[in-house]
Symmetry: C2
Subunit: 297 residues, 2 copies
């Protein structure tokens, strides 16, 4: 039987080791390089890269390109956190238990560090193209394009824009879902898609992974909102109650804590149903689905 | 004989028309879409896309991919201006004769608009991959990777970081050159490279275009610094004297106005020498080299 904790630790270590290698490209500006390293290696859960790797394993195996793409996804996630934490946005001082990038450095450095991580993600997604087969080249183009769409103005950034603009506004459940399908869901879904394509999955398998991704993406956000009400700041490494302080609509504020928990469970059930076509190799994805709503950080 | 003004207007119109089409992807968030349109269509010189198109013409012809890539380069340039103008960076209120993005909208919107334009650039560079030949797919991967490197932590962003950190510090000529080779030069060189590769240029031709690009990139910055001292704010659509106000080292402050002008001329001569292998199809590039140091905006 799968021990999820061991699996997650193993994959986190694999991702962290490759991230360290990928950061060692030695940028000209030392401060920029230091800040990129600081934010990226601050010890996140590595959920997106792990989902990408687990998706690849559920249809085939992890190769070098998949591990690089997984790291690129984490860079895009980290860039979005750095920018979201800025004073003009969510104005957060603490992230992953450490001062946020603009607190540890300064605002200009934080803006440029986010920009640099986003750009480095694309550099990595497109690297080592010398000896690719036509199919590999096509896959690289396809997944990188999909990641750009997911991270862009019709995906993650649109979600963040709507999220900021909805402060002090009471949202409906439908609006909330729309925001989070973009803000958190798009990149999580793209992580599953990337792993599925690079792992050599059939169109049917890749489609199933996307359905799983859509549901755990939403469940992840519902769980996050609940943690912002009931979580332990010491365990989480960030403050709680911040949504209420900003007068933000969240799942608990819109549908109550109990219904939010029930909703998260339904989403996880739907995610697991999406995995029905896979054999035991998808067990890590199954276990991660449960972890997403049971985690305490 | 080539009429440069007509050539530039023609190409600007071509780029503006395609940019408008590319922006019509209808993002979910109206405010984000409006801000992207506002900053991108504020009427810049379109130097990078025009260089890309002129490079393609000097070795072959402009196809659909080249025009899209040219537009992507302008999006990356515009994103960098939006972020550089932010209060935490250069704190500029006026750009291309209009209020900067964070003045016309707000800081959060300006940060996200820059992020969205950078991401959209990569989406566009990688789009329409369905019917590509292996060679076309390879070229797309190669140029997009090169653009990511040029725009990233070893290129444009590194230059901006060094530029900000050098306020109130007296730089040597060598340091100044290093900053500008990254800050302005890298993306200009990548524009020539992109046009050369997508236009079907030989390795020798592409190399010659990069040499031309390196020299006009530096010349462009020297001319910009001179305009910041001697330019007409009404013609330029932005304030002058801002470098001195920020106590920034510039070519005029380091080597004086007269030596700066002579240096710019030498750079242009080197750029033209780089074009020696090309026939009359490179005449637009030759004319643009002259325009770069003779322009008044």
């Amino acid at each position: 039987m799968l021990d999820l904790k061991t699996y997650l630790t193993l994959k986190q270590n694999q991702v962290d080791a490759r991230l360290t290698e990928l950061l060692a490209v030695n940028p000209e500006s030392d401060k920029l390089s230091t800040a990129m390293h600081y934010s990226l290696m601050a010890g996140g859960k590595r959920l997106r890269p792990i989902l990408c790797l687990a998706a690849a394993e559920s249809v085939g195996r992890i190769n070098n390109d998949t591990l690089n793409a997984a790291c690129a996804l984490e860079m895009i996630h980290t860039y979005s956190l750095i920018h979201d934490d800025l004073p003009a946005m969510d104005n957060d001082n603490l992230r992953r238990g450490k001062p946020t990038c603009h607190i540890a450095f300064d605002e200009a450095t934080a803006i440029l560090t986010g920009d640099a991580l986003l750009t480095l993600a694309f550099e990595i997604l497109l690297s080592e193209q010398g000896s690719l087969s036509p199919e590999e080249a096509h896959n690289k183009l396809t997944i990188t394009h999909a990641i750009a769409v997911a991270a862009g103005a019709r995906g993650m950034i649109s979600g963040q824009m709507m999220d900021i603009d909805s402060e002090n506004i009471e949202l409906s459940e439908a609006d909330l879902k729309k925001i989070h399908l973009s803000k958190t869901g798009a990149l999580i879904k793209a992580s599953l898609y990337t792993g599925g394509v690079l792992g050599g999955g059939s169109p049917e398998e890749v489609q199933a992974l996307k359905i799983y991704g859509k549901h755990i993406g939403l469940a992840f956000q519902v769980a996050d909102d609940i943690l912002n009400v009931e979580g332990d700041p010491l365990v989480m490494g960030k403050a709680i109650g911040t949504d209420q302080a900003l007068n933000k609509s969240t799942y608990p504020s819109v549908m109550g804590v109990d219904r939010s928990k029930a909703y998260a469970k339904t989403l996880i059930k739907n995610a697991l149903d999406g995995l029905a076509i896979f054999d035991g190799r998808a067990d890590p994805l199954r276990a991660i689905a449960g972890y997403i709503i049971e985690r305490n950080q």
